[in-house]
Symmetry: C2
Subunit: 467 residues, 2 copies
């Protein structure tokens, strides 16, 4: 076969890149678990009927068929057909309903898995990528304070990553809905979809969208854009929105409730981590299941990347008729973030293999001695591999160097007599730091590498270490 080429939209990393991705995933997981979130995984597939309950993303589903399916089975795509999940929220809602009797509520879960979107091949978007989600769902009710807590957990998780600082932009669906209805726009979803495009298309085109797709007058469009222009991190945003609402005769109880929640959110967040959460009335989130706070997150200095972590409060996503499970959730688009970190060279791994030590092999006959050295080091938690061949030591050192492994271990040898009768004296264990060339005697029972060399680390490029 010819050398294969990458498939557009399906990213894969070389080992050093994978170390960066794994570091990001491990760090997120640790923060989520420290905050009491239980990890679950759901199957990769859902029935199409589940995936298509919310219309917006229906275009992007991959449907499965068994290669050896009967002809009639292969041709049919119906509700019971299986599709790959395009996010982790829909499967999570299904999981909660399926297992409600065996879960303890409020149920706090994190979920880190790949998702798939059946984008057209030429669009150049990711068709497979990691998402890392946290959600808290209640049985029947869920207090507002969860809407404060969850973005702060994400802020903590993102702050633990080797990335620039983040800013979490928040809005409240009740503010948007209250205001739009107040000025006479009933198709709230259409307004939200137009506002959601504001950053991409600018206010002029957004105003056109509002008029063409949400049935707004020029005046109503102007009101929507004015609302979208408001941002801040204290009670003054409520004053600004209320002034605007009065100007357009749009005050309502829903709007007031939303403003109270929005101010409570940014003020509570500012008390814990000042400057991270900012109210921004431009944040719309296209998904129609949000009912309260909504969140988007930008990397400061890399705003063009778009939101790396989004979510919100939902009340009707998981319901089986008898019971409803309201929730708050946020989702990090991990692959896009890692891809950016790697492509602009923001971070790198200090080496591309786990091994801190290569144990040299003096001769194939004594390979077992080298294996014993390796086992002793591993027993103390040192990642190690044995040289693949008993080549000249210079070649074995170059082998380690090529992999970025910092140390080569030379096992002790017994006194031996060469074929020509020469006696070669016994030697003790020695270890060489191949970066400095320094080679010293080492105790097999106690030697460990410096902590900073034990495992590959993920560091800011250029910087010495970011952990």
């Amino acid at each position: 076969m010819a050398r294969p080429t990458p498939l557009s939209g399906f990213p894969e990393w070389l080992p050093a890149g994978r170390i960066v991705e794994q570091h990001v995933l491990d760090t997120l997981r640790r923060t989520f678990e420290l905050n009491g979130f239980a990890g679950i995984e759901t199957r990769a597939v859902e029935p199409l009927s589940e995936l298509l309950r919310k219309g917006e993303t229906s275009k992007e589903v991959y449907v499965l068929r068994r290669l050896q399916a009967e002809a009639d089975e292969a041709a049919a795509v119906d509700d019971s057909s299986l599709g790959l999940h395009f996010d982790l929220t829909v499967p999570f809602a299904r999981y909660v309903l399926e297992n409600a009797g065996q879960l303890s509520f409020p149920f706090r879960r994190y979920q880190i898995q790949k998702v798939w979107r059946g984008e057209r091949p030429q669009e150049g978007r990711f068709r497979e990528f990691y998402q890392a989600d946290i959600d808290v769902v209640g049985a029947g009710e869920l207090p507002f304070h969860v809407e404060v807590e969850l973005p702060l957990v994400m802020a903590e998780a993102l702050a633990a990553l080797p990335i620039p600082p983040v800013r979490i932009l928040v809005n409240n669906r009740k503010v948007a809905e209250g205001f739009y209805r107040g000025i006479g726009l009933e198709d709230v979803d259409a307004v939200l979809r137009s506002i959601d495009k504001l950053d991409k298309v600018g206010p002029g085109v957004a105003a056109d969208f509002l008029q063409q797709e949400a049935g707004a007058s020029a005046e109503q469009a102007r009101a929507c854009l004015a609302l979208a222009g408001i941002s801040g991190s204290d009670a003054r945003i409520a004053e600004a929105v209320t002034r605007l609402a009065r100007e357009f005769g749009a005050t309502s109880e829903l709007l007031e409730t939303g403003l109270a929640e929005l101010v409570a959110l940014v003020e509570a967040a500012a008390a814990v981590t000042p400057g991270v959460l900012v109210a921004d009335l431009r944040i719309a989130r296209g998904l129609d299941y949000y009912t309260g706070s909504v969140y988007e997150t930008v990397l400061v200095g890399h705003e063009s990347l778009g939101s790396i972590c989004s979510g919100g409060r939902y009340d009707e996503l998981a319901t089986d008729g008898a019971n409803t499970y309201p929730g708050v959730g946020l989702s990090i688009g991990v692959s896009r973030l890692v891809s950016r970190l790697l492509s602009v060279g923001l971070v790198r791994a200090t080496r591309s293999v786990p091994s801190a030590v290569v144990v040299a092999v003096t001769s194939e006959e004594s390979r077992t001695d080298s294996e014993r050295v390796a086992a002793a080091l591993r027993g103390r938690g040192v990642p190690v591999e044995v040289a693949p061949s008993a080549a000249k030591f210079g070649r074995q050192i170059r082998f380690a160097d090529r992999r970025g492994v910092p140390f080569v271990w030379f096992p002790a040898t017994a006194e031996r007599t060469q074929p020509d009768g020469t006696v070669v004296a016994a030697t003790g264990h020695e270890v060489k730091d191949i970066r400095t060339g320094e080679q010293v005697a080492a105790e097999l029972a106690t030697w460990v590498p410096p902590a900073s060399d034990l495992w590959p680390r993920v560091v800011s490029s250029g910087a010495d270490s970011v952990e």
Copy 2:
């Protein structure tokens, strides 16, 4: 919507089961990394042309189509169609060819991912499951000692799991091929497929298979079954096979090479971990790409589960014409193993949530005080959650108890005057072990739970702890 039901073949665990699975995955990963294997992940899909290069599993592929594909695109299933990978070996071979210029050989990699098999729905087999693979591939050549090393790495990984001891059964494809050709059977793959079924169908039916599908005479079938009956862990297996081969006039250089390798393998393994590796000439492995050692692994006392870890040496799997990358690999079927551990109750998690502590909330007004306690504990690496509501303390304790969280923290309170004028004295921080009921004063700056309570542990059911 109605309450959803599980999809046959797509296992999902409740949070406590996922803790067991995650523990297994973490433990495997750690052992692999300690042995110098670099982690990679490959995309979930491969072109059908890749997946169908080896015929055996072609029946089990899930093919993807975009839901919104044009009609002609949706109908066509051709070589460029994408299918979900059914193992990690084929994608790994492709990854090596695609990235050969950027990898350092011998390339040691582990890969832990889900795979999919498009089984007929009624067959009740797993259609989605985790595999955990290690492989070492060389560029052009790969020394024999890798065939000794890899099953020992797997033995180390499996010994670190909370499972019964394993036995790794090994054979050598050169022995089988040398013997079969020596007695005049040229369709070696057909013979292997028949012998592979021996455990399931018994010698009588296997002899029928050999005659019907491999074109064997009754005498040749008898010879194959006699070979399959040989097992042992030292040089005597070579003597037994050689005797049998002489009886049937089947000696050959290939057979001798294979026997020398097989004996070298079991003897080298016995020197490191006695009793774990056993030569068993019944082991066939259906896959036609193996060329040297082949491995299967049984859980002692649970042999009916079949092989939980299999693999072998291959020489032609990854080749782009100009270069060939021979390898040795083994793969653990993690989901089947975890499923068995959970269903027969061999292991359990000590709790189903990460939290070691629930911080009580005295009143909604003082929730921030509880959040500060939680942040302080998390800062010292203690997983913690804050109670969802400021209910009576008895209810908050029952909330923690229901989740299996061992400790409840009661935050210090300032002196306060109640509406009726009563003065309530200030209190210090206290922490209650809800298993013993003991409640003691605690220092926020220093308190940590006992190490055995810090994280959920995976223990043998009934036993106190297996780590």
